[in-house]
Amino acid sequence: MSLFPGGGVALGKLGLTEEDIMDEIESGKRDLVKELVAMSSREQIQAIRVLPMCLEDKKHIRSQVHDSKLSKHGLQLTCFTDCSEQVSRSFRRCGANVVSARQAMKLWQGTMKEVGGKFGTSVLSYFIFLKWLLMFNVFSFLINFGFVTVPQLIQPPNKTAAVGFRGLELLTGAGYFNQTVLYYGGYSNGTIGNEPVYDMQLAYFFTIAAYLVLCAVSLIYSVARSFQKNFVLSTTGSAWRLLCSWDFSITSEKAIRQRKNNLRVQLKESLSERSQRAHISTSAKLKQFGIHLGTWLISTALALASCAAIYYLGLYNLEVIKDSQDSISLLTEASTLLLPFVVSLINLIIPLLYSLINKTEKYSNPRTQIYVIILRNVFLKMGILGILCYYWMYNVPTTISCWESFIGQDLYRLVIIDFIFSMLESFFGEFLHNVIGTRCLPSLGVPEFDIARNVLDLIYAQTLAWIGIYFSPLLPLIQMIKLFLMFYLKKVSLNQNCQPPRRSGRAAQMQTIFIALLFFPSFVGALSMVAYTVWSLKPSEHCGPFQGLNITFEAVALWMDRQGSVSESMWPVWIYNNVIKSELFFYLISLIILVLIFFFWQITQGRKLLITLLREQIVNEGKDKAFLLDKLQKLQKEKQTTASSQRPYRQIPQSFDRRQEIEPDYDQDFEDLPGRPLPEEDTGPVGPPFTSALIQAMMARRQAEEEEEEGY
């Protein structure tokens, strides 16, 4: 008996029926081997790997499978099987090597482990998110640089930089940078090379379109995966959630002590929450409702006021620029920094006010509190970005001649100033808080790492980068550098200043929410802004790749016309005419999607019904089990009394009481066998299709028979 080391002891106590159990186990093992033999070698490895056994047993099973495979195939095919075996083994090794190489290349592996060990999975999720965004930007930079910037650099236009490099450009992004490939204006509308020509207009359009489409696909995929894994499935109550949230990766002694404390507090809270849930009077409810209404009004008013302030500041700024468009002095250049400075300041201060407001309202559920504060911050940030977009779309193009570059510069400034502010915030916010908390005001305490606020900042910065992709193709480079530095900055600040967050758990769900927020409103907003620019706004007349066109998309239309006049039957033209330009196609597509959604919805409804039915079945089986056990025990007792009255000297065999405590182990052994994810209703080929109650009944009958034999 080596399938389950734990089970061995328990079964060992069972003197009488040990052989039977051994037989059962052996036959289970034989079935397992038989099933494994039938699989392909790839599946076999997977299946053996997921067996919950120790290595030695796995080796044993594997060699058995091997032997029976050999004997089955006989000798005539040995050469062929040998060959195929060899090939598949080398393939597997190759695959394993790829996996390990990928792991070796993983960025920041050591740092991640350190952070996880000290602060737990929830803080680690911030860094994983940051890394994920970094990958997006690296990819975006590579394709933009490769397909748009490099061709442009090969054939530079005959413009010379209007002003020399003065240093302030690093902050403002204007002046010297204005004519470079950093911005839309630095690209020409010509073609490069002769036969085949490289059309800059098309390259610019399709590179950005392709990047945005790829982003959309990967975001939708991640959101869907994350939702499926973390939201749809998680309906467990609070007690198990807390018990299962223990972080095995934490290694620091102090962090573990803290975690234990936090967990105890949370357990106690969850207990008191349960008992207090019903005792809230109507007046208290009304009062609470009033407070919530008030705080919501205040926070919305704050957000609206800041949006208005930003809009009018933008208009004022535009006037200043317009007046001095010909001779750009250092002062006017510096004055452009005012808008991003105010935006970043608002982004810093209003969330602080929000968390102050949040402290006055008392939510019964701490999770609601977190969601409320996230929601308000998202409103604020998206409001700011929305008003900026409005300003860029309606006010800037009518006043500035090369307005795309101007928007690019604005975005550059926003990104840079935002970075500076987050640096300052780490140092002054967290560092000063730490110093004050440890030296002067111990009641203030050491700051916690606020995951929600930090992630929202990242989402905001990424939205800026996405909007900027059309106006400043190399903005991802800036964003890349920024994220790279942020990683180290946050790591240092975390290690020096912060303590692990007091509330653990739900890290996975929070991560889902953040990814969802990154998709909507962040990505969708940026996408619609870029799409609106491309489809509805007239590009500036004297600069950039699309100069002279009515709208940007006309570049594609003209290209299609040219292609169509050359040869009628080309497939891109056909696709363009029949798919992109036809309403019928989109109508059909939406119809099909709607029908599919309806089908899937029906399927989920059906599954929900099935789940409730299965649950009832389990409960019934549990009752059956209890009933049978009861009956058996009664029978056994009767037998014992008659047996002992007949032969008082005979030793009483193992009682059923004892077996009852041993039984579940046996039960477990069978349910553990692979391929049986739902043991309660499954009759998989691996384990014998007995329910535990049946096995028990069988064991009991056998014992009773043996007793009888002995008795007579």
Binding site: G6, T235, A239, W246, P664
Partner: protein, 189 residues
């Protein structure tokens, strides 16, 4: 690395790769860390058992509240002393690795939480589990009343067949619905 790589033959290494969720680097690293615990002259044999006390000096396990249970569960020793061979150690790391499946992880979590090794989580096991998580000393423990209430809640949430204990399938059902478990049931060397 060089010396340890020569100790694990290529065949053995690929066998370990096939049977566990670990990559080559992880296995080699595990071997290095494992042999560090042994005196130099004993390093040659792979079937060597390292007593639990020595295993628990590793920083990854040292302060884990379940450290002893982990050793007992993964030990194949006949004497039930929690001592580990290198293969047992690999089993441990494999179950706690990133790529291990939810089934494997929840199976071993169940065995770790099953303090009396009887195959179900009964009230005693749950009490032990909660005490392990909140700290063993008297001032950190929950009061008996709270404990009773908590265990009631736990059973209410997970004991589907109402037999007063949580068996493996019920446990796995609960675990499959708490998404944080997979990411937190992890030990990386």
């Amino acid at each position: 690395m060089g010396t340890t790589a020569s100790q694990l033959s290529k065949d053995l290494l690929s066998e370990y790769q096939e049977l566990t969720f670990l990559t080559k680097q992880e296995i080699l690293l595990a071997h290095t860390r494992f042999t560090e615990l042994v005196a130099k002259e004993e390093r040659s044999s792979l079937s060597l058992r390292i007593p639990m006390e020595k295993i628990l000096t590793m920083p990854e396990l040292k302060s884990n509240p379940f450290r002893k249970r982990i050793c007992y569960v993964f030990s194949t020793s006949e004497r039930k002393d929690g001592s580990l061979t290198f293969e047992d150690f690999l089993d441990l790391l494999s179950a706690f690795s990133d790529s291990a499946t939810l089934e494997i992880k929840s199976h071993y979590a169940f065995r770790i939480f099953d303090f009396d090794d009887d195959g179900t989580l009964d009230c005693g096991d749950l009490e032990n589990l909660v005490n392990c998580l909140t700290g063993e000393t008297d001032d950190t423990r929950l009061t008996p009343d709270e404990m009773r209430q908590l265990i009631n809640n736990i059973l209410e949430e997970s004991d589907i067949d109402k037999d007063g204990t949580v068996n493996l399938s019920e446990f796995q059902h609960v675990i499959s619905r708490s998404p944080d478990f997979v990411s937190s049931f992890k030990i990386v060397l």
